[in-house]
Point group: C2
């Protein structure tokens, strides 16, 4: 069989650090295994446009491996050209870069390494909440430029204790975020999800479910998005929804960039209506040099906690998603059943549900 992997380039870092498995150079560590089985393995970062390696090879590959960090966009047009494609594996979590309906029409299986990096992302959420609320970035910048003026930082620094925090989505990641926030003695933890947490899980994290997203954001000092991208969440946080946020609220989004309208977020931060926005996901990846989320700041010079898309690709996560990808391939070649938790179909939730995936493996 012919296997194509679309990964990000690691350059010197990948040569120096063999644990950077998710790079073009280190090939998810799959080459010896695939070649020993007689398969052909092609790895590239070239993914956009008709001359890309993705467009070129899609015509005859049997298996396509992609990641959310450097997403190879599998459109319906490419699916139609993919005469031999039987399996798409997302090395990570979230397959919104794949047209799931088109794949389903062609009976192409789409699997992801569920659970491989949900902890990594949940940790990034908690970190991002803390660094926005506590005003870390301008404080560190003040030090590195040789200054010292405590009042300029303290005037917009707060404690998480006593605040109300809510998550849009309480699936595998959102639930872990709530678990980690529980000990911060917050005023209240809220969640919105079309599907409630199991009663024991809800009790364990001490979170209260609210019925609508509007109701959630109206009450929250901090909102975090932990829901998949689909037609029901695309552009969910726009100017209108932002008008429901408390003035000075903070927003953290490590789910998918396109759940938020980029210009609306940037405007809200610049006006101070949002005191800050942080996350690692962008509506285009790599983000263009002039993307407004790179440079937006609140009126007090802070409120930007953006990073490239890496929260789910720590070295610990890479070991897990490389291993999980191999397991999926082994099952596929051996005709064994896949772990049901690896199915990405659950992500294709109906428009009116704004749902989250993977309840079953929570």
């Amino acid at each position: 069989m012919k296997v194509l992997a679309i990964l990000y380039k690691g350059f010197r870092a990948a040569k120096e650090e063999p644990r950077l498995l998710g790079t073009v150079e280190n090939e998810l560590g799959l080459r010896p295994y695939l070649e020993s089985k007689g398969h052909k393995y092609i790895v590239s970062s070239s993914k956009d446009g008709p001359d890309s390696d993705l467009a070129k090879h899609i015509k005859d590959v049997d298996i396509l491996i992609t990641t959310p960090f450097h997403p190879g966009y599998l459109t319906r047009d490419l699916v139609d050209q993919a005469k031999n494609l039987k399996l798409c594996v997302t090395a990570g979590v979230g397959s919104d870069h794949i047209d799931l309906n088109a794949a389903q029409d062609k009976k192409i299986e789409v699997l992801e390494v569920s659970g491989s990096n949900v902890v990594s992302v949940a940790e990034h959420v908690v970190m991002s909440i803390l660094l926005l609320v506590r005003n870390f970035v301008p404080a560190h910048e003040q030090i590195t430029r040789g200054d010292w003026q405590v009042s300029d930082i303290a005037r917009n620094a707060f404690d998480l204790e006593g605040k109300t925090i809510g998550t849009i989505g309480a699936g595998r990641i959102g639930h872990r975020v709530l678990q980690r926030l529980k000990s911060f003695n917050t005023k209240e933890l809220l969640y919105y999800d079309y599907s409630p947490l199991p009663p024991d899980a809800e009790k364990e994290v001490g979170a209260r479910r609210v019925d609508t997203i509007e109701e959630l954001v109206k009450q929250c000092d901090v909102v975090t998005i932990n829901a998949p991208l689909h037609e029901g969440t695309l552009g969910l946080i726009n100017k209108e929804m932002l008008s429901n946020f408390k003035p000075g609220a903070w927003l953290v989004n490590t789910a998918r960039g396109a759940i938020c309208v980029a210009e609306d977020i940037a405007e809200a931060v610049k006006s101070g209506h949002l005191n800050g926005y942080a996350g690692d996901v962008w509506n285009m990846q790599p983000a263009p040099k002039d993307h407004p989320w790179r440079y937006m700041k609140n009126p007090l010079g802070g409120g930007n906690g953006m990073v490239p898309h890496y929260s789910g690709t720590t070295l610990d996560a890479q070991a897990r998603y490389a291993e999980g990808t191999r397991k999926i391939l082994e099952n596929f070649f051996d005709g064994k059943p896949q772990d049901p938790a690896t199915s990405s179909w659950a992500a294709a939730t109906p428009k009116d549900q704004y749902g989250t995936t993977g309840k079953h493996s929570m």
Copy 2:
């Protein structure tokens, strides 16, 4: 009575933000109260050298109010000149800027607003651990300078899950750090303290006590210091102690800068022996422009999470320590007993104990 407060200047920030109570401009909100009682209230940021307001007024003040953020150093020499001084109040926690032995000799009471910002500092510790382990700072810098190279960040980004974390000191702050780390599914939580946690608290946080600091740091991926500065902790983390750390460990210190030897820390970060160092306390405050902690980086361009001393002076904390200072003054003027938890004498622990204060109010 004559009351002197040494606070940091807030400049424009203090004029625009009345909740910046701990500034020269906003005077801890105490002027109306003190003047209504007929007391004289002097507020200044001038604290260093023989011509400072501290040195000038110390000769006849009855009450001195200071903070750890802009410490007015009350040396034995100044205590000897302080003929009327009866009470020192630290608006915050940690009175190491006051010569406690000299004060005790002159029967000057030294009280601090215990508990006013222990949560604020504990949150800062957890934030700092996360941002070092997850390699946040170079990731954010990459975005703001217009770049995108995930591998350069991911090669030194890890999850907190599965790591061993230890605190030197498990008093009011260290205990709260352990409580907040508990849900991160770490491999193990360790603590060193001359006094063990109460059995139920130890069980609640799931931490194991170790007998020596050397034993603690040898096992830890992350070490955090939550102990007061006294002669037993001054220079505790030096070149020799650092040789016991695991290569690539991270160190977070929000206790006092002088517990670490500045040059030894900077060398360890530059060599990569420490993968990172973060905190808000410095051996001199304000830190000089050429302080090595401002600019040190690990060989991969990260590992520096330094900020000015503000973790305990969030707006939430300022409200608490201003209120607590007023309560101490009210008790003093009315001849009422002080809350025993406000005594700072517990900080003057013997040299062989490296202790932490305030167990009683944990």
